[in-house]
């Protein structure tokens, strides 16, 4: 089905400061990202007739939701406000929902937003009640579940801590070429990586995504409308999704993600092959997630992701440039909105010192869980073109 292919576009992109934002609240950050996106598109608040936002980890943890807050703050007059809880796949899910809503004739400009204050408001990953079977054995945080898969990968394929370090360092190098990255001005060597403290072995602090305040807004409209707006349109070619239910308790695919169905659906819808992709933005909550995706998408064989990154094949000028902004690891953590935002920038030629020359087609991904649960992951693929 290529029903949606090239018929819709991202016409506005808003990126807030990534780092510590004084007096931030989640909805203030979302409102700022939304305003920047509306301005970027050359629209007005009242033009926005659909609003979809990703629920933040903090809101899930506190069961606290105020869906109408952002609309009130910035004067949106939407026909719908939807809060989407699909973890790291929420960005692609929001864009797909926006396209469907526009196609159904219920909206023209749909705003999709992520915002968080994860740095200002310390996050808790403790179980919510006195009973938790994972907790009984001391298993807490998404990092631990991912580290468990990584350890097995190291055993099966000989992947080394140096290779994980190479992934962390490559992301930091890109971030240091991008002035709006949270880690800009804070270079990291492989030695720094090894010296960073263990959080949950085999993951160091620098194997893990940033904790920051920040947000991203995207506006989706029809390809026709996008042509007459202020910013260069970025067209949606394909989307796809996959889920691995109970992955961590299944021996099959323990060291792989639910990439296959997502990738196949997105490529089929786009009518292209992997060779047509000029630049890739992987969801990078942990170094191992990048490694697994590099293999599972087929940029190298299974088990060869470590050498691929160590040899610099994912750098600018390498086989395929991956995570050109520094990603969730070194640019700023906005879950799936970080890769999507950088894909849009690359296709508009706004990648600054890490711009991939003449990038025409970008692939971005999402990865995550629908709950605060520890080990169960969904995957999303979105293919965009200029």
């Amino acid at each position: 089905m290529s029903f949606f292919k090239d018929r819709f576009a991202i016409c506005g992109l808003g990126v807030t400061e990534q780092g510590k934002i004084p007096q931030a609240t989640i909805n203030k950050v979302r409102a700022k990202a939304a305003q920047l996106a509306i301005k970027d598109a050359g629209l007005k608040s009242e033009d926005i007739d659909g609003y979809i936002y990703q629920v933040s980890i903090e809101e899930i943890a506190n069961s606290w939701f105020e869906p109408g807050d952002v609309a009130k703050r910035i004067g949106l007059k939407p026909n719908f406000i939807w809060r989407l809880e699909a973890g790291g796949v929420s960005c692609t899910a929001a864009i797909l929902s926006a396209m469907a809503a526009i196609d159904a004739g219920t909206a023209n400009y749909v705003l999709c937003v992520y915002g968080s204050c994860d740095l200002s408001h310390a996050l808790s990953f403790l179980p919510r009640g006195p009973r938790s079977t994972d907790g009984a054995f001391g298993l807490f945080t998404p990092g631990a579940g991912h580290a468990m898969s990584m350890r097995r990968h190291m055993h099966l394929y000989g992947t080394t801590q140096d290779q994980l370090g190479a992934i962390a360092v490559a992301h930091r190098e890109n971030a240091n070429k991008r002035p709006d990255a949270f880690m800009h001005g804070r270079p990291m060597t492989l030695e720094d990586y090894h010296n960073s403290r263990w959080i949950v072995e085999p993951y160091h602090k620098y194997d893990m995504c940033l904790v920051n305040d920040g947000g991203v807004g995207l506006i989706v409209t029809t390809a026709e409308r996008a042509k007459n707006l202020r910013s260069q349109p970025v067209y949606v070619m394909g989307v796809g999704f996959g889920v691995q239910v109970g992955q961590a308790y299944s021996k099959e695919n323990f060291t792989a993600l639910a990439v296959a169905p997502a990738k196949e659906a997105a490529l089929r819808m786009a009518g292209i092959t992997l060779d047509d992709i000029d630049v890739v933005q992987f969801y990078d909550n942990f170094t191992g997630t990048v490694l697994f995706q590099t293999e599972d998408y087929g940029f190298c064989k299974k088990g060869e992701g470590g050498p691929f990154w160590e040899e610099g094949q994912a750098k600018l000028g390498g086989e395929i440039p991956i995570n050109t902004s520094g990603g969730d690891l070194s640019w700023g953590y906005n879950q799936g909105f970080t890769p999507a935002a950088e894909a849009v920038r690359q296709l508009r030629g706004e990648g600054g010192a890490t711009q991939v020359k003449d990038a025409e087609i970008a692939l971005a991904t999402g990865h995550g869980t629908n709950t605060t649960g520890v080990m169960e992951y969904g995957h999303a693929t979105i293919i965009l073109r200029r």
Partner: protein, 140 residues
């Protein structure tokens, strides 16, 4: 035992046979009598019958308590203060001899000596008057 501060396992109607067995210091698995397939030992346990042979054919069978280390992590950071004195501590997935994976901890072994594939056997830790956790120690 009442001063036990760590989280307790989630026990419901479906998983109760597993935890009752743990209290008797046994591991039980939920298996289809017809095809021999095990229900995944994903928490919460049990509650779902065999797709092909239905609920009536499911039975809880005793496992040998032997297995190998499938994967593990070592925590160095306090999340729940109740585990603070245990740092650094391991959390492991055990591949039981019968096939399913079980979440646990490896005891009586230095974290540095943990290796994937090492043979392990179950030991039980009585954490309260009613509840016991299956843990694993190196064989021999």
């Amino acid at each position: 035992m009442s001063d036990y501060k760590k989280p307790l396992p989630e026990i419901d109607e479906d998983s109760k046979p597993f935890w009752d067995a743990a209290r008797r210091h046994e591991i039980v698995l939920h298996q289809c009598r017809e095809c021999g397939r095990f229900a995944p030992l994903q928490y919460p346990l049990g509650g779902t019958g065999c797709l092909e042979h239905g609920d009536a054919n499911m039975e809880w069978v005793r496992a040998s308590g032997k297995g190998t280390l499938f994967s593990f992590v070592v925590f160095h950071q306090t999340i729940d203060p109740a585990f603070k004195d245990d740092l650094p501590y391991n959390v492991a997935l055990i591949e039981l001899e019968e096939g399913p994976l079980l979440l646990s901890n490896v005891v009586e072994c230095n974290n540095e000596d943990l290796t994937i594939g090492m043979p392990l056997e179950v030991v039980f830790e009585d954490i309260t008057e009613e509840e016991s956790l299956p843990k694993f120690k190196p064989v021999g």
